[in-house]
Point group: C2
Chain length 351, copies 2
Amino acid sequence: MTSSIEIQRVKSSKIASVDFDNLPFGSVYSDHMLTCDFVNGKWQEPKIVPFAPITLDPSAKIFHYGQSIFEGMKAYKDTDENVMLFRPLENCKRLNKSAERLVIPQIPEDIFMDGLKALLEVDSDWIPTNDGSSLYIRPFMFASGTGFHASPADAYKFIICSAPSGPYFAGKVKVLIEEKYARAANGGVGYAKAGGNYAAQFYPTQLAIDKGYNQVIWTDDNSHQFIEEAGAMNIFVRINDTLITSPTSDRILDGITRKSILQIAEDNGIDTEIRKISVGEVVEAAKDGSLKEMFGAGTAAVISPISGFGYNDNDFDLPELENPYAAQLKKLITDIQTNKSEDPYGWRVML
Amino acid sequence: MTSSIEIQRVKSSKIASVDFDNLPFGSVYSDHMLTCDFVNGKWQEPKIVPFAPITLDPSAKIFHYGQSIFEGMKAYKDTDENVMLFRPLENCKRLNKSAERLVIPQIPEDIFMDGLKALLEVDSDWIPTNDGSSLYIRPFMFASGTGFHASPADAYKFIICSAPSGPYFAGKVKVLIEEKYARAANGGVGYAKAGGNYAAQFYPTQLAIDKGYNQVIWTDDNSHQFIEEAGAMNIFVRINDTLITSPTSDRILDGITRKSILQIAEDNGIDTEIRKISVGEVVEAAKDGSLKEMFGAGTAAVISPISGFGYNDNDFDLPELENPYAAQLKKLITDIQTNKSEDPYGWRVML
């Protein structure tokens, strides 16, 4: 299947220098990467090359107009050395939705999928097997075409890199419900994994960190009365025994972990609701004790439990539960991802 | 003043290959560029080097999280070969405002100003003298630090490139008042010259172009009832003899051309108002004939007159005036910029 992709192998692997028992998240890179250029109106042949610096003209539009999108995925290896991915086609489809909004040419599914598989074959030794570790995969696309005019570029690069990684967050996070800043406009690019969406979060997040929180809970930019996302993740709130998440919109990312968790929760007897969540409701629930859990959901952290939140200069602690939904659901989804359980959904893709 | 900046000159200039009578905008680059790196917590020594490709790690955060900002400026040369800039310190200050919002380290004013002057000295032959032409200058900063985690980078590049350029737009533009998409959120980064703000405009702009318009008039993301910007420019509307522009906010760029035009208009007997402009008001004024002019204002185009607008499936033409404000104000400001008139404001900086 992958035989058509040209492979330029590294002369010597750097894998022996990596301590797989103490992996950071996303900062040690595997030996190879997949690259594919869009020039003269079409995608060229993809190829696998050594992970190495990229050379770009100073007038490349990526530097000036933020025309960039990405995805995050993980590859796992089970005890029998089987390599697997989780719903990879969903990432490809979402990358192309982001591409449409950012006027970046869509990547053909076969380049994405065959390229990904070829890369994982070449770098299969880089997939960690320790519990909680995985090979974090970063497909991304950006404008390499040049010119100081604010218009779409005429050339792009699609690249897939990978990084053997430990867990994204260590422990529970304390969050601040945002009352001033916002990450997305109505009719904007909030639903896309556009680079600019992330840089826009850094300053408010830094202010929250300075106040003693780890992350921001984003609210709508108009009223700040509705909860939308948690940092770079989707948000779930458990009130009594019902698990609630905000509906996707043009401001909210259609998270693959989000929709997988919704499905798993429903199939495991947890009541779920997809509806707008008001800040007032969450504060009231925290006060009367019906707020049981909050957590973020995304590829990197899978599920990131929240220990408490700040709002309007008040802090609210969440209870310590015996067997929280967050832990139950995290186990159920990661067991599917890592081939420790049956996969009734057909989400796991074995290579 | 510029003696402290190291200069690595090109071996041979490419200037002889450039047709200065037929310059495009922003796509031919001068021989040199200024570069300065932020590493280990501080800005290093700036230097002038040949304009040449930049090499970056594939995990550099510019590719993933959109941490980039820029400025646009112009240098002019008069008939006596004097080189001049227009309010350059304003660009430096605004770049640093953008830097703060994007969590990019601020560039010291002396690196910006001395670097700019040194670059213009080295590349002074590249400053066009034809009417309407100028050396377009592009200072920009971006995250060169690496890592697949959505947080500010630990290394940055500040670069100034320049491009001898003809006029940005040719002729009047027809615009579409946007009813669905938006460029900026309340509490977002719309007021910053952040790269991501521009990519976010491409798709709605392309839809407008497909309908026969040249540019989009952006409205607020909540109600779409108030006019905010024109493409990548500030917007001015003339109703009867009053020139109106929207107030700056966290969604609207504090344009240097915008505020210069306001000042010049006031000093030349034109009534100005800085206030919210409703779409309904503009449509009514178009219908009753009191809408005399609309134009965009920004560094690249200076003033870009609008011939008509579309809204809610209706097209409205603007009248052809004898001596429109757009032409009067463009002459007044460019005469100051190019040393054809006195500069009572001290805006012109001769090098």
